[in-house]
Amino acid sequence: MSKNPSNLKNIDRLIHEPTRLMIMTQLYVVESADFLFLQHQLQMTPGNLSSHLSKLEEAGYVEIVKEFIERKPHTALELTKKGRKAFREYQQNLKQVFSDLPK
């Protein structure tokens, strides 16, 4: 490991939080998903999921489209270009941190 672990500073803390990391990972492997699918997939409560999604939306990582389909509310979610780029960078930085560790 480098004496000054500067790579750790590059880790995106917004993504690094476990729940948000799960959300980002799930959205990264698909093109889009709706709120219900994400909730089932990640086994999260609606309140918890929406609070984390709000943070990711504020950062411009997730696009949230609220619409009505057959008079029922529907929330479509997808990673923005910025979100995908941030996730890839997060992957790279984390990989770097671990590869810098002594064996």
Partner: protein
């Protein structure tokens, strides 16, 4: 930490989760069953147009499948759109199968005038059931691997076992297909019932459980 594998696992888990409803199995089973019935009716009644039904089934299957997904799956577990990478992979599998089929057809045609190929053709004909079984098992395994659906391996294995048996006992080919189709439909129906029980439809306002974002 192997993130590539981990992301692939998440992707496969998502696929599995979306296809846990058994609808895919039911449609594949119905297709195999129609195929078997087509052959059976053709041999019994000499009414060759019956064979057209399994041929046009894929064209009518897609809208029905989409509609079933909308009515049964999406209200229960939500909607997901997969990335085109996955669809491209499936398309590559389809294309690979088509090219292999055309290649086999070419070899088969060429066989009529060539000694070595003629021997190969005779070998294929005399071991037809085993070869079809191996082919079906390979196709099933390919789709199982691509889609991450392990039960497709089991279908492949069942097909191989039945067709291998069929090589040595004199039961018409279509009865084996009927059995395979029925087994797949039954398994799909069991999965569908389990899915409906596991994910009941949200009642009344529960549909709107999403908190304002």
């Amino acid at each position: 930490m192997n993130k590539t594998t981990s992301l692939k696992e998440v992707e496969k888990r998502t696929y599995m989760s979306y296809h846990q409803d058994g609808l895919l199995d039911i449609f594949v089973g119905v297709y195999v069953l129609l195929f078997a019935l087509g052959i059976l009716l053709m041999t019994v009644t000499d009414f060759s147009t019956w064979f057209v039904i399994p041929a046009i089934f894929p064209a009518i299957m897609v809208p029905i499948w989409v509609s079933a997904k909308k009515q049964i799956t999406m209200p229960r577990i939500g909607y997901v759109k997969f990335r085109s990478r996955g669809a491209n992979r499936l398309m590559a599998v389809f294309l690979g199968l088509m090219v292999s089929g055309l290649g086999a057809f070419a070899v088969f045609t060429f066989a009529s005038s060539q000694g070595w190929a003629l021997t190969l053709r005779n070998l294929i004909i005399s071991n037809g059931m085993i070869i079809i079984g191996i082919g079906a098992a390979a196709i099933s395994s390919l789709f199982a691997y691509t889609m991450g659906l392990k039960r497709l391996y089991a279908y492949g294995l069942l097909t191989l076992a039945l067709f291998f048996t069929g090589q040595f006992i004199t039961i018409p080919f279509e009865y084996f297909l009927l059995t395979i189709g029925l087994v797949i439909i039954i398994n799909g129906s069991v999965l569908l019932m389990q899915f409906i029980r596991k994910y009941p439809l949200p009642q009344g306002d529960e549909v709107n459980v999403e908190k304002p974002l």
